[in-house]
Symmetry: C2
Subunit: 134 residues, 2 copies
């Protein structure tokens, strides 16, 4: 078991429509739009070859993501890699002592089941494991 | 013309060997190691499916990348998407008024020819265009 293909790169953004308009001339078309209440974000997925760019806009004023964004208009937030067996991979990582934000899968956008490795593991880079429904 | 598949996600890191050791149990094996003097970095490319994670360590103490890294051990820096015709895509973007760091290709790691869009375009996210030698 191991991480496979990149599923998406996620950015926190201040304004979804403005960011969509900037990415369109680069050739990134909209793949999905979704509100994920559990994560407190509206998401726009842009198609980037076989992967996606996920634009995340916090729903609530007290979201920690606003603090992360700071004065920027958009900021890289995390990178998600596909796994075939999310529970199995989480168990494997736990047995290795890799710190996890999620010991059990939760719901992501686009039908994905997801879990995050704690960024203390990499000292600042947030990695997501992602099992797609396909 | 448009951006195609993701080529790599790049991280600035404090210690290449330490970071390699952390990524190995996740299943990311070393794909290439290279010093790119023009960019002032040592690079380790980790295989992540059909794309790569590029770990960048600044060569010089006065590198701006150290300031970017701050107190973190690793930090997402940019995302690179493949294009078939780098000169053509740069000309197209310039004609659209997209601000570019590089109006002409320069050398990246792994035989790639690369160019960066100015992050003022996205308000903080650094995008690279990347033409692979294959």
């Amino acid at each position: 078991m191991a991480f496979g293909e990149l599923d998406h790169v996620a950015l926190v953004v201040r304004d979804l429509a403005a960011m969509e308009a900037l990415y369109a001339p680069l050739g990134f078309s909209v793949l999905y739009r979704e509100r994920v209440e559990e994560q407190g974000v509206d998401i726009v997925g842009l198609r980037a070859g076989d992967s996606a760019i996920e634009l995340l806009r916090p729903l609530r004023d007290d979201s920690k993501l606003w603090h992360y964004l700071g004065t920027a208009t958009s900021k890289l937030h995390h990178v998600a890699y596909r796994v075939d067996d999310l529970e199995g991979e989480l168990a494997r990582l736990k047995s290795l002592g890799v710190p996890l934000i999620d010991e059990h899968p939760r719901r992501g956008a686009h039908g994905n089941r997801i879990a995050f490795i704690h960024p203390s593991y990499t000292g600042g880079t947030l990695l997501e494991l992602c099992q797609t429904p396909h």
